[in-house]
Symmetry: C2
Subunit: 324 residues, 2 copies
């Protein structure tokens, strides 16, 4: 039987050269901040049966647990530095821990983000990661910084994660069940999202964007936070929203609904002055992250939709709320 | 019905002047580190039915959730700065949130520790706090720093939290059931522990102690981490262990067992050179935290016990392990 301390030592305590002066194995980790930089901090909790299916494969769960946190750093334009992991587990299952730590560390290493501490306990499977990044003062991309006249952009594609959920659940909204290949392709967006760290960092360091947010609850709801905090509104082209490759083959109404308010996308929505367009395109190419212009910020509050021809559209959409 | 965002705004989003440039309500919080200081970071996860009873009163749970994290900072000698809170709740219950946030913020305010971000979700009641403190380089009290010849000290008293647990469970080890007043007194040590922040900070800032750890799993196990990391052993006087006031009236064997390996104490165990004795006593008086010398660090590995007369004692004790 694996003890709590053996478990930490065996699966999570790795000597990694990094910013941490002291990592796992003391009361606290010690981090030496880079002089003059601000620390960006985000914390996300994932609960079995809520944020992921019971029995979810451990390796991709390890990936996703860190990915959703890195996505918050990306939306701030902060470079990842380190993270803590608190884990409640029903049992100390070696195969699960092996897979989970493999998925976790593969993504952490790809971003130079070091595990510096945490906690393990017995309990219903729950994963809480707190991530630390750094950003130069005044460079962070805040939700409150959108300005009337800004373009609204999104990275990557939207809606395939939501489509996969509909596929798994066999929701009646689907015209026909997804075939196995489509379900696997869309499912990969749900299970192993790609945090847009490099794009966020370029946008912030080059001063290209005003406001940004990561799309986790759906575009409408998340852009809504930018609009509320910035005291502005927006007009979006429903047909400009970049649909994931599987969703793109679905009927128009489903495409619109899932791109606009699907959730679990982990793309970045950001606003930027029109003067930044060429530089944004160049940054996107540089980090191999597609970006799409989907509308503009207005002075008048509220969110308005048009179709590709510019005609007004009435879309009734709402984002995900954990307590509704 | 309270939405996730209303919940955060109403109960947890308070404008507090502090180190945070940006707190709750963006993708990340932004913290500006004090120039030249290291950041101490600790994360603890509390699970209903495991770390606290189902139905535990919300206000004291709010206190305890932060207290166990502040205790980790105390054991490092770091000054509290800020924390994040991730919360899984079965439902958005206003009375519970009211009580929990009251208990949480009362302790946070007493330590100037600011809530800067976090996450709320639906799920089995689980609380994950990550706390940030600051400490000057080279001043942190590490587990690996004990030296043969050091005195071993503990703050406060031990064992009353464990006694309360025995009382609630009516464990057969108790000679007689605890009366209501005793159970309430011992229970307060379990429900509302006092993190020894001021003592830890004085020990670190004045360079009085070598190694330190907070006692959460029981003295034997936690001191054992200092011994293992420092490559040393210790000899302790079982009868010098300061018992809590309720436990002090119990039979000797129970007193020894619960002071040595009770758990949930949230006192600090630290080692220090004999030359620091007077300065430690002065620091303890200054911060109104009693301290007791309970033994010494030896070069030979292992933990040895004596009684008050110095005669060897064979105590068979083990600390708490979440997976055993």
């Amino acid at each position: 039987m694996l003890s709590e301390f053996d478990l930490i030592k065996h699966y999570f305590d790795r000597p990694v050269p990094g910013r941490a002066t002291l990592g796992i194995g003391d009361d606290c980790a010690l981090l030496t901040p880079a002089p003059g930089m601000q620390t960006a901090i985000s914390s996300d909790m994932l609960v079995e049966g809520r944020h992921f299916f019971a029995g979810e494969e451990a390796q991709r769960l390890g990936h996703k647990s860190l990915a959703v946190n890195l996505s918050d750093l990306a939306a701030m334009g902060a470079r990842p530095v380190a993270f803590t992991l608190a884990l409640a587990l029903p049992a100390a299952d070696r195969a699960w821990l092996e897979g989970f730590s493999r998925g976790l560390f593969a993504l952490a290493d790809a971003h130079g983000c070091e595990l510096i501490g945490g906690d393990t306990t017995k309990g219903p499977l729950t994963i809480c990661i707190t991530v630390f990044g750094e950003v130069a003062p005044g460079r962070a991309l805040r939700r409150s910084a959108a300005v009337a006249g800004d373009d609204v952009w999104v990275s990557g594609t939207l809606g395939d994660a939501r489509l996969a959920l509909a596929g798994y659940r066999q929701e009646p909204a689907l015209a026909a069940p997804l075939n196995a290949a489509d379900l696997a392709a869309a499912g990969s967006r749900m299970h192993t999202p790609t945090p847009r760290v490099a794009l966020g960092v370029l946008l912030a360091e080059r001063g290209l964007a005003h406001a940004a947010i990561d799309i986790s609850d759906g575009l409408v709801g998340d852009l809504g936070h930018i609009l509320a905090r910035s005291g502005v509104g927006a007009t979006l082209d429903a047909d400009a929203l970049p649909a994931g490759p599987v969703l793109a083959a679905q009927p128009l109404a489903l495409r619109r609904a899932f791109t606009a308010a699907g959730g679990d996308d982990y793309e970045i929505c950001f606003t930027a002055p029109a003067a930044s367009r060429a530089a944004i395109a160049a940054a996107a190419t540089e980090c191999s992250t597609p970006v799409t212009r989907i509308g503009r910020i207005d002075g008048a509050p509220g969110l308005r939709w048009t179709d590709a021809a510019g005609a007004p559209l009435a879309l009734e959409l709402a984002s995900f709320d954990h307590f509704k």
